[in-house]
Symmetry: C2
Subunit: 131 residues, 2 copies
Amino acid sequence: MPKPPLTDEIKTILAQPLAAVMASLRPDGSPLSVPTWYLLEDDGRILINMDDRRVRLEHVRQDPRVALTVLGESWYQHISLRGRIGEFKADTDFADIDRLSRHYGGNPYPDHEHPRTSAWIDIDHWHGWHV
Amino acid sequence: MPKPPLTDEIKTILAQPLAAVMASLRPDGSPLSVPTWYLLEDDGRILINMDDRRVRLEHVRQDPRVALTVLGESWYQHISLRGRIGEFKADTDFADIDRLSRHYGGNPYPDHEHPRTSAWIDIDHWHGWHV
């Protein structure tokens, strides 16, 4: 798998609001996968955002190693990344989840009640398939 | 997360050729995610099939714990499973990859040259979201 920096072609694909699945580790070391919204930041990191009620947030605080697969338009186009979460930040003003929600659906996130946390993934390796 | 058996509703969804991402573990315990074809067998296990040249096959032989997220028609419908591979079998006649390929695209798998291995996931837990 190539290491960062990402190529312009990969960045162009990741800049789209594509379906993505994130894998993280449970306390016993087993993998857990869930769909996620993501956003490629200008600095090359990947933003994700989690409801604080999700047990997954505890997991990634314990072990920040994650993987992300972003699915392209067709079955045969995908980008898979490996990395670790290098920064957590309480999304106190819901600015990050709103950014994500606008990116995917055009509107701010409807729930500004339940606390959320932003996390930024530092990419260690990436692999593009048919991109 | 509920434990097996799967409900009929979940089985009906999983019976479709949906986009899916599998998470497995690398030797250092970090997660790796890749898109995969899958097939729900009548016995409730999930069939996947790997090209023997994939390093992922070595990984899951070392640690058979995997997770699978199956994406529904919309963003908000998905099924995520956790489990472990309970059986590996050389797909010597390419019957399993052909079954998968027919399920997803209607045709047998075009490559009957490179050896492949079938693996069956025993589901430990599952979670359906908006299903």
